[in-house]
C-alpha cells in the first residue's frame, strides 16, 4: 500500500477535538452584531402586519426586518439549486415555521429576547398540513433531476407481465419526513466592505453560496467571498444556499455592521429542507423459480405549496437498473402541502427508494420460499438494463459473497421466527446498496517550496468526510513527499473552483484535479531541468530522470532563482457517462433481536460490504461507512419528524424528541471494502462513499425484523408498537 489507501489519521483531527478548528459561527469578525429569525405560527395565509414596536424598544435592538421593510432582492425566481424565498420579499405564508422577520441586536441575548416580543397578525387560510394517503392531486414533477432525467420510464410491458406472472407481490411502503440534524447548525457571518461582501457560512458549496448571494443581492460574483474551512456535518442541508445566509447579508447591509445569524435547533427544522415523506407502490411479478419478470415502482413524494422551487425525491431510479428485469415501469409524482421545500438528504432517492424496493424483493423471496440473496443473484444485472450500457465496474457479486461469508448468511433458516435466544426473537435480513458515481469539473493548485513543503489548495469543502486528509495523501503520493510535508487548504470561494460536496463526488472531482495539478507541476519541474515530463518522476525531494539520475528540487529551483513553484489544473469528466453506467454498490447483512413482550428492537450485528472503487484512506473510509450505516439505523428505527395535523407545525423539532441513534443503539459493525479501482469512471478510480452505506440499511433492518417476527413493517420507522406481541 502506498500513501493513497493508508489508514492515516485525519490531519485535522486534533484541531477538531481540541476546538481549534473554527466553524462558521466562530470566525473572529470584530464588531459583529446578532440576528435572530422570527418564524410563522400558521401554515398558510398572509402576514397582515408584524408588530415590532415592543421589540424595537428593547435594549440593544438595531433593526427588525419584516416583509414590509426588508430590502428587495434582485431576482426572486426560484431556479434549480437556487432557493430565493422565503426572504421577506412578500407577505404570503406557505408553511408553519416560515421566516417572517429578522431581529438584529448588539448581543445574541438581546436579539433573542426581542424576537420573542415580535408579534404577527395574520389572515390564516385553509392549509393542507400533511401528505396523507390521498394522492388525487399528485402531479408530474416539472423539473425532475434538474431536467437530466425523465420522471417516468418504462421498458417492456410491466403491467401485462405482472398480470401473467405466477407469483405476485403488491405492497405500499412509506417513509416519513426526516431532518438532517447536522451537529453544527446553519450559521452565517456577513460583512460588507463597501459593495464587497465577505461571508463565513456553514456550507457544502462555497462557490455555490457565492453565486447565490451575488445573484440575489444583485452584485458581481467577483465581489463576494465565501469562507468555510470546516462544515460540522451537512448531509445535504448545506448544499443549497438557504435563505438565512441571504438574510444575514441583507441585515448586515441594513445595519451597516457585520451580522452573525445562527439558527437554533428548532429553526433547523424549518429553514433548510428535509427528506420528504414518500409513499411508494411496488409491484413485482416472478416465475416460480425466481426470475423477476415485472417490476413497477410508483413513487409519490411530498412537495411544498410555496413558491420555493421544486424538489422531487427520486425514489425509483434504483429500481430502473438494479435488477435484470425485462419489464419495468417507474413513475415519480409530487404531492404538494403547506410545508417547506424538501431537499437532498444523504442518498436522496436511493435511501428512501431502496427501503421500498429491497423490502419488496424480500417479500418476493418469502413468497417464493427462496433465500433473499439467491433471489438477488438470480436477477443480477450484468449490464445496466435501463441505460443499456455496461457498468464502468460492478463488484456487487463480490460484496454479496464477502458480506454473506463474514456474516454467516449460509446458516440462515428460510422461514421466519426460527431463530431465538431465550424469549428474544432473532432475525437476519439483507439488502443491496447502490449509489451513482458522480463527478464534476474541479480545479486544484499545488505549490512546492524549496524547503520541500507543499501546499494543495482547492475551493472544496470539508464536511466531515476527511477531505483535508485525502487531499494531502493524494498530493503526497503524486509528488513523492511525506504526508507530513503537505498542507491542504480548502473552503474559500477565492480559491480554485470545486463543486458542491454532495452526491458523493468530492473525491472523484477534487482529487482527480489534485492529480492533474501534480502532473502539471511535474511538467514544470521537468521543463526547468530540460527533461521530458513523461520521463521524470518525483521522489523524496528529487526529480528522477529516465536514467535514474536524481536532481534535488531545491537546487533546481535555486538555479532558476525560485523559492517556490506552482501549478494549477482542472480535471473535467470525460465521456464516461455516455459509455458506462456509473454506480457504486454494496450489501448489508443485519441481525436484529426483537423482544416481542416489550416491543424492543435491537440491532445485534451488521456486516456491510462495499464496492466503492479505490479506497483512499482505509480509516476515513471505514468511518464514513459506519457513519452512513448508523444514519440508516435512525431511518429504520427512530427518525420521524412529527407534524401537528391541525396547524402544520412540527412538534418534535429538537434533539430530545426527534430521535437519532446513540452509541447504545449501535452494535459492532464490520465493514468490508471489495477494492477494485474503477479507472473507467475517473483516473483515480474512486467511486464515492459518502452516501452509499446508508442505502439499503432500512430495508435490511426491516427484512431482519420480518425474519425475526414474521411481521412485515412497511412504514418507517419501525417502533415498539409495530412488534409488540
Amino acid at each position: 500500500m502506498g500513501i493513497i489507501g493508508a489508514p492515516i489519521a485525519r490531519v485535522d483531527g486534533r484541531a477538531k477535538v481540541t476546538g481549534r478548528a473554527r466553524y462558521a459561527a466562530e470566525a473572529a469578525v470584530p464588531g459583529a452584531v446578532h440576528a435572530v429569525l422570527v418564524q410563522s405560527t400558521i401554515a398558510a395565509g398572509v402576514v397582515l402586519a408584524v408588530e415590532t414596536a415592543a421589540a424595537e424598544g428593547m435594549p440593544g435592538v438595531l433593526a427588525i426586518l419584516t416583509p414590509q421593510n426588508a430590502p428587495r432582492l434582485a431576482d426572486v425566481r426560484p431556479q434549480a439549486q437556487l432557493v430565493p424565498n422565503p426572504t421577506l420579499q412578500d407577505a404570503t405564508v406557505a408553511y408553519n415555521g416560515q421566516t417572517i422577520a429578522v431581529v438584529v441586536a448588539e448581543t445574541l441575548q438581546q436579539a433573542e429576547a426581542a424576537a420573542a416580543h415580535v408579534r404577527a397578525r395574520y389572515r390564516a387560510d385553509e392549509a393542507i398540513t400533511e401528505m396523507g394517503d390521498d394522492l388525487a392531486d399528485a402531479y408530474v414533477p416539472k423539473n425532475f433531476r434538474n431536467g437530466m432525467r425523465k420522471p417516468d420510464s418504462a421498458r417492456g410491458d410491466a403491467d401485462a407481465a405482472f398480470n401473467a406472472a405466477p407469483v405476485q407481490i403488491s405492497a405500499t411502503y412509506t417513509t416519513p419526513v426526516e431532518h438532517h440534524n447536522p451537529m453544527e447548525p446553519h450559521a452565517t457571518i456577513a460583512r460588507w466592505d463597501g459593495d464587497r461582501l465577505t461571508v463565513w457560512t456553514a456550507t457544502q458549496y462555497v462557490s455555490g453560496a457565492r453565486a447565490t448571494l451575488a445573484r440575489l443581492l444583485g452584485i458581481d460574483a467577483g465581489n463576494v467571498r465565501v469562507i468555510c474551512p470546516f462544515t460540522g456535518g451537512g448531509f445535504g442541508c448545506k448544499g443549497t444556499t438557504w435563505p438565512p445566509a441571504v438574510l444575514a447579508a441583507m441585515a448586515a447591509r441594513s445595519v451597516n455592521r457585520p451580522v452573525k445569524l445562527v439558527l437554533d435547533r428548532r429553526q433547523m427544522y424549518t429553514s433548510n429542507g428535509f427528506r420528504p415523506r414518500t409513499l411508494q407502490k411496488l409491484r413485482l411479478g416472478a416465475t416460480p423459480d425466481g426470475q423477476i419478470v415485472s417490476l413497477r415502482h410508483d413513487g409519490f413524494t411530498q412537495m411544498s405549496l410555496g413558491d420555493f422551487g421544486e424538489f422531487a425525491e427520486p425514489v425509483g431510479l434504483a429500481s430502473e437498473m438494479l435488477y435484470a428485469v425485462p419489464n419495468a415501469a417507474v413513475t415519480h409524482r409530487l404531492v404538494a402541502v403547506n410545508q417547506g421545500l424538501p431537499t437532498y438528504m444523504r442518498a436522496p432517492g436511493e435511501a428512501s427508494g431502496s427501503f421500498a424496493l429491497e423490502s419488496a424483493i424480500d417479500e418476493m423471496a418469502a413468497a417464493l420460499n427462496m433465500d433473499p440473496l439467491d433471489l438477488r443473484l438470480r436477477n443480477y444485472a450484468e449490464s445496466d438494463p435501463h441505460e443499456n450500457r455496461p457498468f464502468s465496474s460492478k463488484a456487487l457479486r463480490e460484496c454479496y459473497r464477502a458480506g454473506a461469508e463474514a456474516f454467516g448468511w449460509a446458516q440462515r433458516p428460510l422461514a421466519p421466527r426460527c431463530l431465538r435466544d431465550g424469549d428474544v426473537l432473532v432475525g437476519w435480513g439483507m439488502a443491496t446498496a447502490l449509489y451513482p458515481i458522480n463527478r464534476s469539473a474541479a480545479q486544484a493548485t499545488l505549490r512546492m517550496g524549496a524547503d520541500g513543503r507543499v501546499f494543495v489548495r482547492s475551493g472544496t469543502q470539508e464536511i466531515g468526510g476527511g477531505t483535508y486528509t485525502t487531499m494531502a495523501q493524494v498530493t503526497a503520493e503524486a509528488l513523492g513527499v511525506p504526508v507530513g510535508q503537505v498542507t491542504a487548504q480548502l473552503g474559500d470561494s477565492a480559491w480554485p473552483h470545486a463543486p458542491v460536496s454532495g452526491g458523493s463526488q468530492t473525491s472523484a472531482s477534487v482529487l482527480n484535479a489534485v492529480v492533474a495539478a501534480a502532473d502539471a507541476l511535474r511538467a514544470r519541474l521537468a521543463a526547468l531541468a530540460g527533461l521530458d515530463a513523461r520521463q521524470v518522476q518525483l521522489a523524496a525531494g528529487t526529480l528522477v530522470g529516465p536514467d535514474g539520475t536524481r536532481l534535488r528540487i531545491d537546487v533546481l529551483l535555486a538555479r532558476h532563482g525560485l523559492d517556490t513553484i506552482e501549478a494549477t489544473a482542472e480535471s473535467v469528466p470525460g465521456d464516461e457517462k455516455q459509455r458506462f453506467s456509473l454506480h457504486s454498490f454494496g450489501a448489508h447483512f443485519v441481525e436484529v433481536q426483537v423482544d416481542p413482550a416489550i416491543g424492543r428492537i435491537r440491532i445485534a450485528r451488521h456486516v456491510g460490504a462495499f464496492d466503492t472503487g479505490r479506497v483512499l484512506n482505509a480509516r476515513t473510509a471505514r468511518s464514513q461507512a459506519i457513519g452512513g450505516i448508523i444514519y440508516g439505523y435512525g431511518m429504520a428505527l427512530l427518525e420521524k419528524t412529527e407534524v401537528d395535523a391541525e396547524t402544520g407545525r412540527y412538534v418534535n423539532a429538537n434533539l430530545s424528541d426527534y430521535l437519532v441513534p446513540v452509541n447504545a443503539d449501535v452494535p459492532d459493525i464490520v465493514t468490508i471494502f471489495v477494492e477494485k479501482p474503477d479507472r473507467n469512471a475517473n483516473p483515480l478510480g474512486v467511486k464515492g462513499l459518502g452516501e452509499l452505506p446508508t442505502v439499503g440499511v432500512a430495508a435490511a433492518v426491516a427484512n431482519a425484523v420480518y425474519h425475526a417476527t414474521g411481521r412485515r413493517v412497511r412504514d418507517l420507522p419501525i417502533r415498539v408498537e409495530d412488534v409488540l406481541a
Partner: protein, 322 residues
C-alpha cells in the same frame, strides 16, 4: 430567553424570603433553562439554591435522606443507595445522560415539567400554561402522553424516573416555607390535572424542597426499575415500572408497584400490589398482577399500545427480583 436577575442567598431563610412574584428557584438549571430558552418560563429573577448546603446524602438503619440539591449522579452512585434502594439508583441511571445527571438535582427532578411537546412550544395553546387556552395534544401527537388519570383538559405525563421509584418506596418530601416545615408523602405530593392542569404539586411557590426521606424496608432492598423507550439510552420513558417485594420463604409478604410515563404522577398500582401479597413469587403471580396494573386506563389516540407495554414493564421488573 428574557433577561433576569440572579439572587444568590447563602441560607435557607434568606432564600425563602427572596421569593416573590415572577421569581423562580434554580438548582441545576437543566430543566428550567430549557423552558426559559423557549420562553415558556420568563422569570424576572432566579434564586440560586446552590449555596444552601442541601446536597447531603445520608443513610442509617431507619432510612435514606437525600438533600434536595444532591446531584442525580451522586445519589445513583452512593453505595447505600445501590445496596439498600436499588430501584432509586436504577431509575436515576436510566434518566438523561451522564452530563445532565452531573448537573441535575433530585429536588429539581421531582419538579421537572412535562415533556408534552405542545407544552414546550409557546406557539401552541396549552391549558397547563394558560388555563382555558385548550389542549391540542388530545387530538394531536400524544404517543408519549397519559393513559391514566388524564382529564378533558390535559393528558400530560410527569416525565421523571426518580419519583416513580420514590413512589414505590413510599418516600416523603420535606419542604420548608415561610410558615415552617411540611412533610408530605410522595403519593400526595403530585396532583392529577382535573380542571387545573397548571397546578402540578402541593408545593407552594415560596416553599423549597429541602429533603427526600425514604424509609428502610425489606422490600426497598428488593426493588427494581424498568424503563422502556424507543432509543436504547437518553430518552424519556414510554412507560416505566418501579417494583419492590418482601419475599419470605417464596411467598410475597409485601409488594409495591408504581408506573411511570403513564400519568401526571407516579402511578401506584394498588390492584397489582394486592394481587401479589400472599402469593408465591413466581412468573404466574407476576403475570396476573401485571395485568391489573393499568386498571382504569383510558388511552389517547396514539398511545393505546402503552397499556400493554406498561403491564409488560411491571412483569419484567417483578421478574428481575427473583
Amino acid at each position: 430567553m428574557q433577561a433576569f436577575d440572579l439572587i444568590r442567598p447563602t441560607d435557607l431563610p434568606a432564600a425563602i424570603a427572596a421569593m416573590g412574584k415572577g421569581r423562580r428557584f434554580i438548582a441545576g438549571g437543566t430543566d428550567l433553562l430549557q423552558l426559559m430558552k423557549e420562553n415558556i418560563e420568563t422569570p424576572s429573577a432566579l434564586i440560586d439554591l446552590d449555596a444552601l448546603a442541601l446536597d447531603g446524602i445520608g443513610a442509617d438503619g431507619g432510612g435514606l435522606m437525600l438533600g434536595a440539591l444532591a446531584r442525580m449522579a451522586d445519589v445513583a452512585a452512593h453505595p447505600a443507595v445501590r445496596a439498600e434502594y436499588p430501584a432509586i439508583s436504577q431509575a436515576l441511571l436510566s434518566a438523561a445522560s451522564p452530563q445532565v445527571r452531573n448537573m441535575g438535582t433530585v429536588g429539581g427532578n421531582l419538579l421537572q415539567r412535562t415533556r408534552c411537546v405542545y407544552f414546550r412550544d409557546a406557539a401552541f395553546p396549552c391549558n397547563k400554561r394558560t388555563p382555558g387556552a385548550g389542549c391540542p395534544a388530545i387530538a394531536g401527537q400524544n404517543r408519549m402522553l397519559a393513559i391514566l388519570g388524564g382529564s378533558a383538559d390535559c393528558i400530560a405525563t410527569h416525565p421523571s424516573d426518580l419519583p416513580v421509584a420514590l413512589a414505590a418506596l413510599e418516600a416523603t418530601v420535606v419542604m420548608q416555607g415561610p410558615n415552617g416545615t411540611r412533610r408530605v408523602p410522595i403519593s400526595d405530593f403530585y396532583l392529577l390535572p382535573g380542571t387545573t392542569p397548571g397546578q402540578e404539586t402541593v408545593l407552594a411557590p415560596d416553599e423549597i424542597i429541602t429533603m427526600i426521606e425514604v424509609p428502610a424496608s425489606a422490600w426497598a432492598r428488593r426493588s427494581a426499575y424498568v424503563k422502556l423507550r424507543d432509543r436504547a439510552s437518553f430518552e424519556f420513558a414510554l412507560v416505566a415500572a418501579a417494583v419492590a417485594l418482601d419475599v419470605r420463604d417464596g411467598t410475597i409478604a409485601a409488594a409495591r408497584v408504581a408506573l411511570g410515563g403513564v400519568a401526571a404522577k407516579p402511578w401506584r398500582a394498588m390492584a397489582a400490589e394486592a394481587a401479589l401479597v400472599g402469593q408465591k413469587a413466581d412468573g404466574a403471580t407476576f403475570a396476573q398482577a401485571a395485568a391489573l396494573a393499568t386498571e382504569g386506563a383510558r388511552p389517547a389516540g396514539r398511545n393505546g399500545f402503552k397499556v400493554r407495554l406498561a403491564q409488560r414493564a411491571v412483569a419484567r421488573a417483578l421478574g428481575a427480583l427473583v
